[in-house]
Symmetry: C2
């Protein structure tokens, strides 16, 4: 059954919005909207507002690009963390995945993606310059590459290594323990915790 | 991996709201929210507003209880439809499913549920009185019961029949039989039994 004719424009609008989400088909979208309709108006209003506030009020940390409610995120403003080690990750999910292991007490740098010619993402689309600026500014002893073990991740590692190896810092990667082809976001925390503890010097 | 620590309260709120939807786990909710974060702010605002408007502005048709942008829905206000036949359905989805067949040109009456003692839904929770009022007002020739072929549906059919059979109207139900595309081998025996008892003259 395809829902071609909606009895209400408002209903149709809401279904279309939900159906625009990844992995949500029109049928699922309709089911979700019908669920919202059965709820208290206050609850639904809160749902809608949480979405609107998401873009309007959220910040990206000025230091590491992590998501934050404030200008500087809670990790970058934590004085107890080791400011001499920077872990380079693709996105916010990866920061959360690594934080959940409770193994790493250094800083992060979120690239905002990885080099992927097939998706038209080149080095200039990523926050690489600001990473280099941090290293130039001094006080950094080690950079950890914690990117996905995919072709795009390897390409990005290679690019970063060529760019950063001239500086007097150690460059390491997560231990191979993260299975080839796996995404960090979905790796179990024990594997991920071991991988960051057993990190190795980066080798070309 | 469980996302126990969120770097942002706003992010966490939005994830919690999405995770409250049926069939949406926390991981999926997080993925959906991250998708929203990557979009244009305007687009996300529109998404949130469509949810808020859903409850604030939507109507339920005063005649049939179908969902509508106006006080009387487009079906009830359509002068070309047959006002003498009322098809009784459980919910709005069923109106849409029947409308999509383009076979029925009469009116609807949405009960808003079916009798289900296990879920604590009794006749008084449904829009049965207003259905009886319509019949009392006259001008109705036929009532079609188009409820699910479940125990709850059968119970509701039986209750409605006892309530409405005293009026001088025809009462019918949807034909039961083997669904188009179904294989006999896998059809349950009750359906198959009814299908052979209610067999129709073969038409080429």
């Amino acid at each position: 059954m395809s829902f071609t004719e909606f009895p209400s424009r408002l209903l149709e609008d809401a279904v279309n919005e939900f159906a625009s989400l990844p992995g949500v088909g029109r049928k699922t979208a309709f089911r979700l909207v019908m669920n919202l309709l059965r709820r208290d108006p206050e609850e639904v209003k809160r749902f809608g507002e949480s979405i609107i506030r998401l873009h309007g009020e959220i910040h990206y940390c000025k230091i590491c690009n992590n998501i934050s409610d404030t200008e500087i995120c809670s990790i970058c403003s934590d004085t107890k963390r080791d400011k001499t080690v920077i872990c380079v990750v693709e996105n916010i999910q990866d920061v959360m995945a690594l934080e959940n292991t409770r193994q790493f007490r250094g800083m992060y740098h979120v690239l905002g993606g990885i080099i992927s010619p097939i998706n038209g993402i080149g080095p200039s689309d990523l926050k690489i310059e600001s990473l280099e600026e941090k290293i130039k500014a001094g006080g950094i002893n080690e950079i950890i590459f914690a990117l996905s073990t995919t072709m795009e991740g390897d390409t990005t590692n290679y690019y970063l290594y060529r760019k950063l190896s001239k500086y007097d810092i150690a460059i390491s990667t997560l231990a191979r323990g993260v299975a080839i082809g796996d995404e960090l976001e979905y790796t179990d925390e024990i594997t991920l915790g071991r991988a960051i503890n057993n990190r190795n010097p980066y080798q070309q």
